[in-house]
Structures are given as C-alpha cells and as structure tokens.
C-alpha cells in the first residue's frame, strides 16, 4: 500500500520540491529522504491523511536541515551567509493549496524551456518528468550513460546560471511555449516509433512515456486543441504498433497490417480526441489534422474502404500549415489513390526538383512505387535502387530489397 502511494505521488512530490528548493538534485535527494522516513514511520504511526503533503513537508524540512548543516562545515563567512540565506529562501508548502497539479506543469515548462537546446529538453523531460533513470534515457537515445549524464548536468547548469524560472509561462507567451512542449513530446514519440523498426532492441517504451506525458498535459491544460490533437495522433499511431512489425522484425505496411492486432481502445480514445479538438474554436493545429488523417485510416476496415479523397483534402490543409517534404510525399501517395500514379509521380518529381530531399529514401521508394504502377519497371528498379542506397534502418532495407527482387523477376 505504501509502495502504491509512492508510485502515485513520486512525480508530484518531486515537482513541488523542485519549486520549493529551486534545485533538481536537491529535490531528488529530499524526496528520497522523505520516502525513507515514511517507510520508517508510517507502519508504526499509520499512513497520514494527506500522504502527498506529508512527503513534501518532510522532504522540504530535511533539505533545509541539510542546507543549514552545510553551514557548520563552511569556514568562510560569505559562504555561511549564502547558505543561511538559501535555507531561508526555501518555500513553505501550503497544505490547503492544491497547486500541486500546477507544479507538474511548471516542471514540464521548465524542462522544455526554449533557452535549452532540443536534446537537453528531451533528456531533462524524460529524466525529471517521466522519472526515467539516466541509464534508461541514454539507452533510448543510443548514447553512453556518461554522455547522457553530461547532457543533463549541462542543462541543469544552464537553468541555474541563466536563472531559467520554475514558472508556468505568462499568458502572452503560453501558446508558443505549449508548442515547444508538444514538440518535445512528439520528439519522444517519434524516437520510440522509429525504434520499433530499428535493428537495436530498445527496452525503454518511449511511445508509452510520450502518451503518458500527453495525457498529463491534457489533464493540466484542458480544452487545448493542440494538446488533444497530439494525444490523438499518438494514440492512433500507437494503436497499430503491434501490427507494424512482423514476428521476423520486418516492416508491415498499412495495407497489409493485421487489423485484429490494432488496439481498439486506443483508437476509440484517439477518435474522440480528434472530435473534441476540432470543436475547439480557432485555428486548427497541424497535430489535429495529422490525427484526423490517422483517424480515417483507423476507421477503414474490410467493409469500409479508406476515404482517400478526404485524406487528400486533409493533406492539403496540412501542407498550408506545415509545408514539409514528408507531408508532400504523403500527400502524393494519397493523390495516387484518387487521381492515379501519373499525377502523383508529377508531384514527387516536382518535390525532388526542388533539390532538398535527394537523400531521402522514402522519396525514391515512392517514385519506385508509382513507376511500377505505371508499368515502367526499368525506371522503377532504378528508383528502388536509389531508395536502397539511402535507407539506413535494416527492416526498411529488407523491404526495399524485396520490392526490387520482385520487380527483377518480372
């Protein structure tokens, strides 16, 4: 039972201690000491009525004790005064104050502060908000633990040196800052998504962490269209996770996926969130549009054909909001389903002509697919060869090689 309480409250206790103490490491130590004290005292005296408040108060007091104790060991008066002032500055938790939810939000905004570089934001969020160990975060991004530890140390140093505040941003910049947070969450999700087709075994479930973060943000920032849109997008993609990779570790494309392995509960949640998000007035978020496209794929079944014309329309909306090469490619694929391969090939060739994506294996694969559909096998084979030369992930390479082999036998 005590373990259950710890599991539930660990994140919130840390977030509040960080606010009170103004220091990540001090807060982590304080939480540990509070937990240790709880294990010692609760069996004998009973679990307190408000365990979270107890843990926060205990952690805070132990940290203040530690700061004051440090004074005894300092010989320089200036240091002593500094330490004493630091102890005096430690905030006092207000038991009646239910801003605990806000503390987790403050922590998220701090970890995702734009003054930190993108890698630092992701590392800090996974470590401090999701509670992953440094080792786990390092494994997730395929760097050494030493490298990740350094990254975290530098990020925390920047927060201290530049006085990055532990605050929810001002309303004038809130939307901008939320975009930054969502970019971090989406970054975590796409890392996890790609990892499922990587050749390395990643045992940290990044997609799960990203979705958890998305749910937390949805709870803390209700009725936010972009937050709901991103959460919907992640759920709808995650729902197909088990069917995206075969037992042999090969990529399985959407058309060939075993729909019985799709998580219907996640799909239902995702569909509901897309609806809710679209009903929020104001400009639609690109995440919501992407989620709406994923929703159309999820809705299609054996009895219901995929609504490709609507998907094309949605990609066109998305292109106006976010004109990126990946989205242009996906638009072309959708167009091929409605207007045919020739039109789609024109779109892809125009994208290639603009010159920025020649190293992108998916562009070559798309060309290969359209050329094959147009009955131009020689050019199709060349396109797939280009795709093979630029693809890096093993399972994707195997898929492309298989396509190439199938064409050669024709």
């Amino acid at each position: 039972m005590i373990e259950e309480i710890f599991r539930r409250e660990a994140g919130r206790v840390l977030a509040t201690l960080i606010r009170l103490l103004g220091d990540f490491d001090l807060a982590e130590e304080a939480r540990q000491e509070a937990f240790a004290a709880a294990i010692e005292q609760w069996p004998a005296h009973g679990v307190p009525a408000n365990p979270r408040a107890w843990l926060i108060k205990t952690g805070r007091n132990k940290a203040v004790d530690r700061i004051r104790r440090d004074i005894l060991f300092r010989t320089k008066i200036a240091d002593r005064e500094y330490a004493s002032a630091a102890a005096d500055e430690v905030g006092t938790p207000d038991e009646a104050d239910d801003t605990f939810g806000d503390d987790r939000l403050r922590l998220i905004f701090t970890c995702c502060h734009p003054a930190l570089n993108a890698e630092a934001q992701i590392a800090l969020t996974l470590r401090e908000v999701c509670g992953l160990s440094t080792q786990a975060v390092a494994r997730a991004f395929i760097v050494s633990e030493e490298t990740m530890a350094q990254r975290l140390v530098r990020a925390k140093k920047k927060i201290r040196d530049a006085a990055i505040p532990y605050e929810t941003p001002d309303s004038s910049v809130l939307d901008q800052r939320i975009e930054g947070v969502l970019a971090v969450v989406y970054g975590v999700f796409t890392e996890g998504y790609a990892a499922t087709v990587g050749s390395d075994l990643i045992d940290v479930e990044l997609c799960g962490e990203a979705i958890r973060l998305g749910r937390l943000l949805d709870a803390l920032l209700p009725h936010n269209a972009a937050v709901m849109g991103l959460l919907a997008l992640m759920l709808l993609h995650d729902a197909r996770r088990l069917s995206r990779v075969s037992d042999a570790g090969d990529v399985v494309l959407l058309d060939d996926q075993d729909r019985s392995r799709w998580d219907q509960s996640e799909i239902a949640q995702g569909l509901a969130l897309v609806d809710k998000s679209l009903r929020v007035p104001g400009q639609v978020s690109p995440y919501t549009v992407q989620a709406a496209i994923a929703a159309l794929h999820a809705r299609a079944g054996e009895n219901e054909p995929t609504d490709w014309p609507q998907i094309v329309g949605l990609y066109e909306v998305l292109l106006r909001l976010q004109p990126t090469p990946v989205i242009e490619l996906n638009h072309a694929v959708a167009v091929s389903m409605v207007d045919g391969a020739a039109r789609a090939l024109d779109l892809v060739d125009s994208l290639a002509a603009r010159g920025k994506v020649t190293e992108y294996h998916l562009l070559h694969a798309a060309r290969g697919r359209f050329l094959h559909q147009l009955g131009r096998p020689v050019e199709a084979r060349e396109a797939y060869r280009n795709a093979l030369n630029t693809a890096t992930l093993e399972p994707e390479r195997r898929l492309l090689a298989a396509r190439l082999a199938a064409l050669k036998s024709q």
Partner: protein, 117 residues
C-alpha cells in the same frame, strides 16, 4: 539578477536607412530606454560607434599588440548594449524582445556573475 543584453545588427543594412527611418529608430530606442528606466530594470546602456572605429588589443609574450577592427569579422556586429536587472531569464528575454534592434538583428542575453564580495 543582472543580464547584459548585447545588440547585434548588420551594419551594412543600417547604412541603407534614410533620414526619416533613422529618426524613427532613434525615437523607438529612446522610448524603450525610458520605459525600462521607469520600470527599474535599467542599469546602463550605450550605443557603440561602428566597427570601423574599433581596435583590438592582445597581449602575447609580454607584448601589447593593437590591430584595426573588431575581434572577429562577423555577419552581425555589436552595435550597443543594455545592462539590466531582471528577476529571471524570462523577464530578461521579454525586455530584450522589446529592443528595436531585435526586429532585424539578434540580442544576446548573458547573465552576469554577481559581484565578488
């Protein structure tokens, strides 16, 4: 906490400005400076003469060597600064964003070490 706001703009772009545009910019700077003085953030601030007036001093092997020009050729040059007091980085960056030069240049926001006692 004190922050130094370093105003970097491309001097060549400035040279292209007409009289009335220059006056408008100067007025905007005066307005801005007045507002941060009134709000209690201003500690110091100056406009610098262009890099053509700059010289660089280096002491190597006991010898002081002076050369013409800034310490390095950069696409944007340091044109001015403000030393401000702000409660945290967010307050400092909000002030920096209001500097007229921020619209076409870059404002570096550097925290200042507290004075040694």
């Amino acid at each position: 906490m004190n922050y130094l706001l370093l105003i970097y703009t491309n001097e060549a772009e400035f040279a292209g400005l007409g009289q009335s545009e220059l006056k408008k910019l100067t007025d905007e700077y005066m307005e801005f400076t007045k507002s941060i003085v009134q709000a209690g953030h201003f500690k110091a601030g100056d406009r610098l003469k262009p890099v053509t007036a700059a010289s660089t001093v280096r002491v190597r092997n006991g010898k002081a060597i002076t050369t013409d020009g800034p310490f390095a050729e950069t696409r944007e040059q340091l044109g001015g600064y403000y030393l401000i007091e702000a409660k945290n980085l967010d307050e400092a960056t909000a002030i920096a964003a209001r500097i007229p030069g921020a619209r076409f240049g870059s404002i570096e926001v550097r925290p200042v070490w507290p004075p040694m006692t």
